[in-house]
Symmetry: C3
Subunit: 109 residues, 3 copies
């Protein structure tokens, strides 16, 4: 058993969940926010058999697109805003971040 | 140190938490939703010593009951709903899903 | 790759996040609540290279302070409150709880 933890962009959330369901994966959704942009995203906990890890990652890859986003980013130390005019920075968002962890023991009670 | 991650049904949440406290387990609650039914549940993060894993799972098992629930499930591809009349499907809910992960390092700051 | 899971007190949350960003760590925030006090706190998921674990823990340690808090704690079995007058108990809060887990596989999609 492995635990796949995937952080997915809010815009891709619906598509990823539907694709996982169609491939008969079971999972749990946890609302989360990004550390840098502080925008809402979703963290999926997906317990899978070892031989399904590859397929789970493929399903996630096919339903997430990377896109460019312009953001006004204030460095953490710039509060209060006042006179500073933030210059937009282009960041790539979307896609997904995937961690695969080993599960020593799995119980379905 | 092991990290027990338990996904518990909303109806059992209160009972499981009280039982864990009575057995002097420390834990953190994370609100979550099920992938299939999209109903609210709770994901517990319980850091325990290796020799307490068995007891933690027993406490969870004793406070969760499995029950039948009839749900109208629309397959993900059936949107918009319109003319389709979903037929109720009987699923077993309740109980809990438990993952035990190895913790390489634990710090209490 | 390691996954650092840190449960941080609500009062230290802002400081820890800013310090992690200043040290160029990437992370995801998950809202959570304490099992015992049931107060809001935050669970940070921080994926780091193996050689950065020490630094990540140092950043967390420097931004969390432990403080004393008086709480009225009703033992779980004391509901409804009615005639019982809870006597305040002094607990130490703040600081952080840190779990370091091994990541078998990391993908940035
Ligand atoms: N210091 C910095 N300077 C310039 N640009 C920066 C930056 N930190 C992040 N970014 C950019 O901003 C995007 C959103 O990051 P955020 O932390 O809000 O949202 C993140 C975070 O919630 C999560 N994430 C990424 N790496 C992580 C890690 N190592 N551990 C835990 N969560 C991670 O995945 C979301 C998307 O990450 P992704 O890398 O695709 O996309 C990132 C990245 O392109
Ligand atoms: N494709 C499908 N077809 C028919 N019935 C289906 C189904 N997928 C799920 N079910 C049924 O619906 C119940 C609720 O699933 P849900 O995903 O909402 O809520 C799940 C989910 O949040 C979590 N969970 C279960 N297995 C998981 C896994 N492998 N990884 C992560 N979370 C899991 O535990 C909750 C309860 O799961 P449990 O198995 O007791 O109960 C499941 C199962 O009996
Ligand atoms: N049975 C009990 N009797 C008397 N005092 C008790 C107690 N259980 C907890 N406390 C005290 O109350 C503080 C808050 O605990 P809480 O569970 O709300 O909030 C906890 C919980 O969310 C998390 N946490 C602590 N240990 C954990 C563990 N082993 N696994 C998962 N989460 C943990 O970190 C937060 C802060 O924990 P910390 O130990 O610094 O601080 C704890 C501790 O000093």
């Amino acid at each position: 058993m492995k635990l796949v933890i995937a952080v997915v962009h809010e815009k891709d959330q619906r598509h990823v969940q539907d694709s996982l369901l169609e491939s008969a994966f079971q999972f749990t959704n946890v609302a989360s926010t990004g550390g840098f942009l502080r925008e809402g995203n979703v963290t999926l906990l997906i317990g899978v058999d070892e031989d399904q890890v590859e397929q789970a990652i493929d399903v996630i890859r096919e339903s997430c697109q990377t896109r460019e986003q312009y953001v006004n980013v204030m460095p953490p130390t710039m509060e209060p805003v006042g006179t500073v005019i933030p210059s937009p920075v282009k960041v790539l968002v979307g896609g997904a971040i995937v961690f695969v962890l080993d599960v020593e023991r799995f119980e379905k009670i």
